[in-house]
């Protein structure tokens, strides 16, 4: 009996302790402090765990730790009224984040570290730069430096990898949604590592860099640096930068730093390491990169890198122009389509096929606002919009496409043209129309037509030569893969809606891949498989 009583007693006591603890937050105590800040790959989202581990002046952990869960989607965290005694701390954020490129929640969680000095501030951030400098700081302190000295040196060294000066604020004070120069550099570097692929690949890239810097402060891995520069080169493209700018604004940034100039600066330093050239606009394949990339779509290793001669210097080029050809002359080639519904103006291109028929294609992606805005994933003014199958068909409902099943069967396998969301007198391209265009270009080596229709996403970042046609990928998403995200620059075809809603690849280099994709789509017996309401495509209409 007494045992039982004891037990109840201790339970009560435990309860009281817990109550006492949970009330602590409201009792202001002098010995406690509140540490808050922003955690960003892109901003970490609700549910992200932020943990602080106390460290002594040698940066050895004391064992004290405090954690909190983020309750917002802006990466803001707050460790309230913690009895922290240590001056230094290891901050870790682990969770999903808003992807700066796709503007949606990452598919996998990521873990970022920050080594912070809390002597004079309660506000500290966790970001890609704090993560990259982390190991180097610890190493330098172990070698006898003070934490302050080590931080200053490590931060300058990290910036130096990207060719940036490091006289800005300390990394733990930077914020991708702020407008300072340091913030711009952070955003640029943050984007470069993000572009490396899925979260596992991003983590590996950051860890490789951070460990490479650890002992000597210099990135000795030339392949790694080239890779980073290549990523920067892709990102520096105006269309992609615009898209990111748009996303960052939507994340709540009031002042968007000019991150693009840093991307260009970093990419240019790569371009300038190339040999000189003499024939302006000459395009060659390069063997500059020792390590080929693994292409998700083709399932093989590829060397997608080509160079173009500009003003005596080879520059990175990933356009569609064949070796030795000059840029296509766009003067007088385009027609105009004015969408009466919203007044938007698009370029069009007349393609005269071998049998004499003239097919008029939109040379831009449609931007018309769909009736249902739910699932309106991507809209970048002047670049394009992504539509779900329901939206493409001009449906007003927000629900699933299930009800479309029978109707779709009738119409897809019929011969009827479907206007859908296209302007009057235009229709959603039919599978066959894509194929005719594809065959016309590839069988006849009519690269100039392709160049007119398919704008290279990766024009020279320095001169930003525009070839006239907007064919930036607005994006493509599906729910089929977690880790295999497709990024521009990763040798993947662009996906467009067709009447059949087959996944259509209209690939810049015109390998067999687009045919393969088309066939693959054709071979899928279950149409519903193709009609996933969460898939979104760009749309170019064809004139009736």
């Amino acid at each position: 009996m007494s045992k039982k009583m004891n037990c109840i007693f201790s339970l009560l006591a435990a309860g009281a302790m817990l109550t006492a603890c949970s009330q602590m937050g409201s009792e202001a105590s002098e010995s406690t402090r509140t540490i808050s800040g922003t955690s960003q790959k892109g901003p970490f989202v609700k549910g992200t765990e932020v943990t602080l581990y106390g460290m002594d002046e040698k940066l050895l952990q004391t064992g004290s730790h405090y954690s909190t869960k983020i309750d917002n989607d802006k990466g803001k965290f707050s460790l309230k009224k913690i009895p922290l005694e240590e001056r230094y701390a290891w901050l870790n954020a682990n969770g999903y984040f808003i992807d700066e490129f796709f503007a949606e929640k990452s598919e996998q969680t990521i873990s970022l570290n920050s080594l912070v000095d809390l002597q004079n501030t309660d506000k500290v951030n966790i970001n890609v730069l704090t993560h990259l400098s982390f190991n180097r700081i610890r190493y330098l302190v172990k070698e006898g430096m003070t934490v302050g000295e080590a931080k200053r040196q490590a931060e300058a060294e990290v910036m130096n990898v990207f060719g940036f000066s490091g006289e800005d604020e300390s990394f733990e004070q930077l914020d991708i949604l702020s407008g300072g120069e340091g913030d711009a550099k952070l955003l640029a570097i943050s984007l470069i590592v993000l572009f490396n692929g899925d979260v596992g690949a991003v983590t590996e890239l950051m860890t490789s860099l951070s460990l490479d810097l650890e002992t000597d402060g210099v990135c000795d891995d030339t392949v790694l640096v080239r890779k980073l520069k290549n990523l920067a080169s892709s990102l520096a493209h105006k269309g992609i930068s615009e898209r990111i700018r748009w996303n960052i604004r939507n994340m709540g940034a009031t002042e968007i730093p000019d991150f693009r100039k840093y991307l260009i600066q970093f990419a240019s330093s790569w371009d300038s390491t190339w040999e000189s050239c003499s024939n302006q606009n000459e395009v060659v394949y390069t063997i500059m990169l020792e390590e080929p990339y693994y292409s998700i779509m083709s399932g093989r290793y590829v060397m997608p890198f080509r160079a173009i001669c500009r003003d005596g210097v080879w520059k990175y080029y990933n356009g569609i122009r064949m070796d030795g050809k000059s840029p296509v002359d766009t003067v007088g080639k385009y027609g105009t389509l004015v969408d009466e519904r919203d007044g938007r103006v698009y370029k069009t291109l007349d393609v005269e096929l071998d049998d004499g028929r003239v097919v008029t294609w939109m040379a831009d992606l449609l931007e018309y606002e769909p009736k249902s805005s739910k699932g309106d994933y991507k809209y970048i003014p002047g670049v394009g919009r992504e539509y779900s199958p329901c939206q493409i068909l001009g449906r007003s409902d927000n629900g699933s496409c299930e009800e479309l099943d029978s109707e779709m069967n009738d119409r897809i396998f019929g011969k009827e043209k479907i206007q859908g969301i296209c302007p009057d007198g235009w229709h959603i391209p039919i599978d066959r129309e894509w194929m005719e265009l594809y065959d016309f270009i590839s069988d006849g080596y009519r690269w100039e037509v392709a160049e007119l229709l398919v704008q290279s996403q990766y024009v020279d970042p320095e001169t930003d030569v525009s070839l006239g046609v907007n064919m930036y990928t607005v994006g493509f998403r599906n729910n089929y893969s977690i880790s295999e995200r497709e990024f521009p620059g990763y040798d993947y075809p662009r996906e467009f809606a067709t009447r059949e809603f087959a996944i259509h690849g209209f690939e810049v280099s015109f390998t067999n891949r687009s045919t393969w994709l088309w066939r693959q789509a054709k071979e899928v017996p279950d149409l519903y498989y193709e009609l996933h309401p969460d898939e979104h495509y760009g749309l170019r209409c064809v004139k009736d």
């Binding site: 009895p83 873990s111 596992g200 860890t207 880790s483």
Partner: protein, 278 residues
């Protein structure tokens, strides 16, 4: 005050794993007349040693955890009952082999709990796993400075805790859990070839090979989950990852010491497809 709060945090963490079970058990213990001391744990002869400036290194492997994965080391009570004191130490893995190190540890007991969390290299494909997983390990680090975290340390973790709670010494509990686990996989003859936390999937020893086989076996099943879900919504969901973790966490329940039928377990785990396929 400080101590109290740290404690609360770790209790809450623990609760998240055990959920209602723990609460239920506590109430049950109280209402039952013959309940044991709640604290429970090892006997007085356990010889707890405090450690100072201890360095620990090791590898975290399912397949190897990808670089940058998290490792947390938890101090346990000097009472020898393996209860976390609330002191935790953090590290991240540093190479493709999953190796990590934690330096300058000051601990009140030589028994530590370790947890590695992250994506790992799939044995079969060499690609990163789709889901993050967490693996645990328990170790006596008084005489060693190298502790690996792997599928064996994880599978015997809860069983060891249970056996210690029942009154066994740490060593006894660890040995028994290890033997039971190895028996399940028909590797009982290797029980003396090394403790789980000393094994390495990339090692050459016979026990290392056994670990590698068991690891791949587990991976095959999670792999099957992946194949199964590919092309469907559930593949992208958190639920899917939770199912894999749940599988890893509940596996210990079979360790009742009688060498249970693995097929039955896998059927229970909804993993029977694998057998049907072969």
């Amino acid at each position: 005050m400080k101590k109290c709060c740290i404690k609360k945090r770790s209790i809450m963490k623990w609760n998240r794993v055990l959920g209602c079970l723990a609460a239920g058990a506590m109430l049950w213990a109280c209402s039952g007349g013959e309940s044991k001391d709640i604290v429970g744990g090892a006997s007085g002869d356990s010889g707890i040693i405090a450690l100072k400036d201890k360095n620990i290194a090791g590898v975290a492997q399912k397949g190897p955890f990808v670089r940058g994965s998290s490792v947390v080391l938890k101090e346990t009570s000097k009472a020898g009952n393996l209860k976390p004191t609330g002191k935790e130490f953090f590290a991240t893995t540093r190479s493709d082999d999953g190796d990590f190190q934690i330096e300058g540890l000051n601990l009140e007991s030589q028994y530590v709990r370790l947890t590695a969390t992250g994506y790992y290299k799939r044995e079969k494909t060499g690609q990163n796993s789709r889901c993050q997983i967490s693996l645990n390990a328990l170790a006596d680090i008084s005489e060693i400075d190298h502790v690996n975290i792997n599928i064996l340390t994880h599978l015997e973790y809860d069983r060891t805790l249970e056996l210690v709670k029942e009154g066994n010494s740490f060593d006894e509990a660890k040995k028994q859990a290890h033997r039971e686990l190895m028996r399940v996989f028909n590797f009982e003859y290797l029980v003396d070839e090394g403790k789980s936390e000393s094994l390495d999937v990339t090692g050459d020893g016979e026990a290392d090979r056994a670990l590698e086989k068991i690891s791949s076996f587990i991976d095959d099943h999670t792999d099957f989950y992946a194949d199964d879900c590919f092309g469907h919504d559930k593949c992208a969901s958190l639920d899917y990852c939770m199912r894999i973790q749940e599988f890893l966490d509940t596996f210990f329940e079979i360790l009742d010491g009688n060498g249970p039928d693995l097929t039955v377990l896998l059927l229970q785990m909804d993993m029977n497809h694998e057998f049907g396929r072969n």
